[in-house]
Amino acid sequence: MTSTTISPDNTGIFSAMGPSYGLPWLQQRRAEAAEVFERIGLPPVTHEDWRLTNTAQISKINFSAPGTGTPLTPEQLGGLCLKKLGAQQMVFVDGKFSSELSSLGGKVEVLTIQKGMEKLGDRVQRFLGREMPGQSNGFSAMNLAGFEDGAFIYLPPDQGEVGLVHLLWITASHDQPVVVQPRNLLIIGSNNHITLVQSYASFSSQPTLCNAVTEMVVGKGAKVELIKLQRERDTAFHIANEAIHVHEHADVQSLVVNTGGHLVRNNMTVHLAEPFAQATLNGLTLAAGDQHIDNHTMLDHARENCPSHELYKNLLGGRASAVFRGKILVRPDAQKTDSKQTSKTILLSDDAVMNSQPQLEIYADDVKCTHGSTTGPLDDEQLFYLRSRGVAAADAGALLTYAFARDVLLRIWHTGMREYLEDFVAAELHRLHLDQAKS
């Protein structure tokens, strides 16, 4: 396989190895991943999975590791902070844990990976790189080789409802392009109920690259809501590889909200590994200007009696482009699979582009799998209905745009997060001028 041409400076930074804390197994995994990266590099546009998202732009920028910048004050977190919702909050600035900005007290022991290595080294060793191995693609290899730190949660079984944990990753302002590599390892023991939020933000007017990996294991009978909020500046490149392993009778719901970034790629892989495991994958993308947002999902039905549900929505204005590619794999043992996938996009300008691609691979014979995809302007019938009740055309458009987005948010289980995101999305629609678009 040929790789994209990478400037000499970036090869160094992209395959650089992070700290091994004197652990031979970590040293070895990092070295292997660095080797994989040197061999395959960033995914070329000729690769089927990457043909609609060209990472060549990333290779052309001369990235460096962020030095120690000016520390952020709690006030600078502003609306990024979720403490008012009672969240335990772990904040990383430029990839480094900030104890000043974090408030970790609560029912869940939230550790950095570095701390996790000291306290629960065997568990980190067991799970790190298991769900999202370095070989998956160039970005996951680069992350495993080079990540500096991250969040580590090991929640023992039978804790019941433990509340909300927020992992906030901020890239601060820099006068040169920087790369940050978040890594989150979340092991949720059986019969727990937890809401996990990941936020990604950036303050830099220079290009930033956030190359994140999140691995999660959901134990038997656990109920987990995983919300990701990608709200970086339009100078940001954001690549995320997330993988979730779901055990028997567990129920996981994921929501990915994208409103920021110049080029964004989210890979979400869910492995329904045991009978009666359930997964719901939702997504909401708001994009305008020259933004490009790509969501790839992979639902792997390995065993019988697993329901899965997917709803990804996009609101695109300006010259924005978005991709949804949803793969559903039903393996021979996955009888009685019940899977529904929906992708809906509203194009608010003539220059916005959507690429939607369902991909079903079914090897069992007693299954129900449906998929649907729609892309188009605002619904004339709905617009007319609102206008015929007195609502002005512009207000009707804004109302429908918001409603289209809110439909996804209403599915959020956690009440506080639902209300927070309703407000956030309304504000972002306004910021991106998506509430003023004509049908």
Binding site: D380, Y385, L386, S388, R389, A403, R406
Partner: protein, 146 residues
């Protein structure tokens, strides 16, 4: 004076003439039912009166309460008091009935130079009306026409 006065109204959709000269006068207090076979133009007439943009008025005039109706946007017609009850009302997921009603009520109040209601006052009013009609409160949080 007649409340609605339709004179020689002609309308087409996609270049195809549907209404070919309708005359109808409705006086205040009168109830009219328009009957006819399928395809005779009943729905087209109501859509044209409500202002649906897929229909083109090719001739004639409509006076509503003395105003030139065909000059008004659909929302202005609604605010003036003319609107269409849909045979198959469209669902609007994500817009609650209470939010929709408040938007409609306030648009009409604004049109008539009245102060807009805040959420509290509106909710109080709508709950009174619902009690009067013995409607289930859950309707308020349901999406429009769902």
């Amino acid at each position: 004076m007649a409340f609605v006065e339709i004179n020689n109204l002609q309308a087409a959709v996609g270049g195809k003439p549907i209404l070919k000269g309708i005359d109808l006068t409705i006086n205040p207090g009168e109830v009219h039912a328009i009957m006819g076979p399928n395809g005779s133009g009943k729905s087209t007439l109501s859509s044209v009166l409500a202002g649906r943009e897929t229909y083109t008025v090719t001739g004639g005039s409509v006076l509503f309460d003395g105003k030139d109706l065909l000059d008004l946007s659909p929302e202005e017609r609604a605010c003036e008091g003319l609107f269409m009850a849909f045979q198959y009302p469209v669902e609007i997921p994500g817009v609650t009935t209470s939010y929709f009603l408040m938007a409609a009520v306030n648009a009409i109040r604004k049109h008539h130079g009245q102060e807009e209601l805040d959420a509290m006052d509106f909710l109080k009013m709508v709950k009174e009306k619902m009690a009067l009609l013995e409607m289930d409160k859950t309707f308020l949080n349901r999406s429009v026409n769902e």
